[in-house]
Amino acid sequence: MTIQILMPALSPTMTEGNLAKWLKAEGDTVESGDVIAEIETDKATMEVEAVDEGVIGKILIEAGTENVAVNAPIAILLEEGESASDIDANASTAAPTPQAEETATETAVSTSSDTASQPPKQQEGAHVKNRDVLYAQGAVIEPPVFDEEPFMASTETQTVRVALRDAMAEEMRGDDDIYMLGEEIAEYNGAYKVTEGMLDEFGSRRVIDTPITEHGFAGLAVGSAMNGLKPIVEFMTFNFAMQAIDHIINSAAKTLYMAGGQLGCPIVFRGPNGSASRVGAQHSQCYASWYAHVPGLKVVSPWNAADAKGLLKAAIRDPNPVVFLENELMYGQSFEVPTDPDYVIPIGRAKIEREGSDVTIVALSIMVGRALEAAEKLAEQGIDAEVINLRTVRPLDRHTILESVKKTNRIVSCEEGFPFAGIGAEIAALIGEHAFDYLDAPLKRIAAADVPLPYAAGLEKLAIPQTEQIIHAAKEVCYAD
């Protein structure tokens, strides 16, 4: 059978080109790799190489012809034992025409956009098998089931710091594939002492001091996760993870999808996030909305010690990449923590820290404490606030937020990050899309001032959201004086 040589596309966007020159004539023998012609587009001149070998039987498009459509036959190649008389016999059995292809893709695209435009209906029941597939389509689903009460029967008082350490130690005891690496985590016991005693217990094979090379060690950790290990990467603070964000997003978050589900990346990236105290703009930023933007990541941010313990254990057990955002100012604070080693808080479930009927206050991380404080003060003024501790930022527990707003009809969001495209903006969109008719007042967002964090004490206090602002915002949405 003779072979048609087609006008090639030389870039993803090329639809036609000029056949500038033939370098072979009819009757010439060609081997694969031989340059047979030159074609021009508006951008460049390129050589056309033969793929098959044979003899040029017929040139169909003369040199100098302009606007030759991609995929049009330009010559016919005779294979061994064929002659010119074989040409007409199969000139019509062409390779797929561009038209046929276009129709095919069009159908595929329109079907898929149909699916995309109709997010699945709200799911009843908390046991959902394909939760992440539904989340990806914007579904509002009841969060994973979790009954916290029984765990609180037996607790001990711990700082957030110790709760984090215990979570890691307990998980590491049971699974040799888990190891941790980061700057100053081993011999120094952690820049913020979160990894105190870890080196003593687990040794230098599993608790590893790295050089100050975030980009490199994040990539190394991702590679080791692909090759079967479960690394916990500590960033001294998340400000320095910007050096490594390429590997967090491009290498960790996208791998499972790009591998068609074949190869995952079980890894935890953890460390303090947000502002500490008077450390200035480069060391004080909340990255919650940065990571929350990325499909393929889970983003968790604990508030108290129980959160820290239960969520970090969940993060370590999760087979996906998890970004775990802590807060330095919380490390030293003490709370009651369940003693049961199976206290593992499901990722994707928010917690109602205080029930109320007048206004919903949604907060994450350190802001939860301020929101609770605000709620106490509001109660004194006759306003009954419901406080939601998000715990997980992605996937956001949209169900819990919506149910609360449907009850209170008013909402204030609180975060430490910048307001623009922040977590509050996402919550606002959620309410706008799903609870518009329930609102009795425009929602309010509490966030950091939209400026690099100042060093000066007075200005810093103004820039970071305080309890008073939450109280004020809650009163505003309640139209209370």
Binding site: L6, P8, A9, L10, P12, M14, S32, G33, A44, M46, V48, E49, V51, V70, N71, A95, P98, E101, T111, S112, T115, H127, K129, N130, R131, D132, V133, A136, Q137, Y179, T210, P211, T213, H215, G216, G219, L220, A221, V222, G223, S224, M226, N227, L229, D246, N250, S251, L256, Y257, M258, A259, G260, G261, Q262, L263, G296, K298, P319, N320, I347
Partner: protein, 342 residues
């Protein structure tokens, strides 16, 4: 031996490697020849399918560089792992991934290694020890260092082969990983495929000093070898892998090679003269090996023709599979984002 015209250059030469290289048999040669030819024909076919619009986006061909991955893979051991950049088709074929699965990924179909969700630059096969296919220049070096870390952690005797281009070698993370790999004696063979250009920028314009010597400050031995001669690659890789596998830490092989085509399908490569390209084509690794087999082992033209025919048929079959494999169903858009936990 095919050619020893290029002297290899070494840094940290104090760390010499003792074992010697065996003379290749004709069977060995035929295997190398088939492997390289499969890559060549596969890439030509990919170029053709790209021309027909069946492959989209970026498509980086390996034509001219075949001896590099072929030589190295031929002396790897079962259980070793490999990671590379976006110029990855050859590495997958060499690792034993099927031409069908790779080609179908190029056409974005269900039968592809990533079921069409990865494309030319992003493919993986855990089973074959191939960890991508990475589109970000420099990433493969860090990920490869991590593969090596896992081999050491599990003490499984495996070595990670981490490929990068000459352009990638300038990334900061490469230096970061050299440091960690040397510090922790990780079993990683760093392979710099120096095809003398990072897109349109020649090494003369982008790299100071010698790439093979960049491990010097960390005490990592490095060596520059002729990558157009599959035996020179094979011999150097055998010794380097032996060095790495026996607990000495990483090793850098800078393999001097050349891509005969543009950086990707849409690059006319006007930054190189025709003379330069033609000169390199005279060193075509496949033709060199073919000449050795014919001149020194009396292999006949017909024998080679029949190998060629058989490989062409394999590639043709792969292309047919890739054209006919279905596209993923629309609902698959939302799957594989995360592993579901229940």
């Amino acid at each position: 031996m095919a050619s020893t015209k290029k002297k290899t250059k070494k840094s940290n030469a104090t760390k010499t490697i003792s074992n010697s290289n065996p003379e290749p048999t004709l069977d060995d040669m035929k295997k190398l020849y088939e492997e390289m030819l499969l890559i060549r024909r596969f890439e030509e076919k990919a170029g053709q399918l790209y021309g027909m619009g069946l492959i989209g986006g970026f498509c980086h061909l390996y034509i001219g560089q075949e001896a590099v991955v072929t030589g190295i893979q031929s002396v790897q051991e079962e259980g070793d792992t490999v990671v590379t950049t976006y110029r990855d088709h050859a590495h997958m074929l060499a690792q034993g991934m099927t031409p069908e699965g790779v080609m179908a990924e190029l056409t974005g179909r269900e039968g592809g290694y990533s079921r069409g969700k990865g494309g030319s630059m992003h493919m993986f096969s855990q089973e074959k020890g191939f960890f991508g296919g990475h589109g970000i220049v420099g990433a493969s070096t860090s990920i490869g260092t991590g593969l090596g870390f896992a081999h050491q952690y599990r003490n499984d005797g495996g070595v990670a082969v981490a490929y990068m281009g000459d352009g990638s070698a300038n990334q900061g993370q490469v230096a970061e990983c050299y440091n960690m790999a040397a510090l922790w004696k990780l079993p990683v063979l760093y392979v710099i495929e120096n095809n003398q250009y990072g897109m349109g920028t020649s090494t003369a314009r982008h790299a100071a000093g010698q790439l093979y010597a960049r491990g010097q400050g960390y005490g990592i031995p490095g060596e520059q070898i002729d990558g157009m001669d599959v035996f020179s690659v094979q011999n150097a890789a055998r010794q380097a892998l032996d060095y790495v596998r026996t607990g000495n830490g990483p090793y850098i092989l800078e393999v001097m090679t050349y891509r005969f085509r543009g950086h990707s399908m849409s690059d006319p490569a006007n930054y190189r003269t025709k003379e330069e390209v033609d000169g390199k084509k005279n060193e075509d690794p496949i033709i060199q090996l073919r000449n050795v087999m014919m001149d020194q082992h009396n292999v006949k033209e017909e024998d080679l023709k029949s190998i060629d025919k058989e490989i062409k048929a394999r590639v043709k079959k792969a292309a047919e599979f890739a054209e006919n494999s279905p596209e993923l169903a629309p609902e698959e858009l939302y799957t594989d984002v995360l592993i579901e936990v229940e």
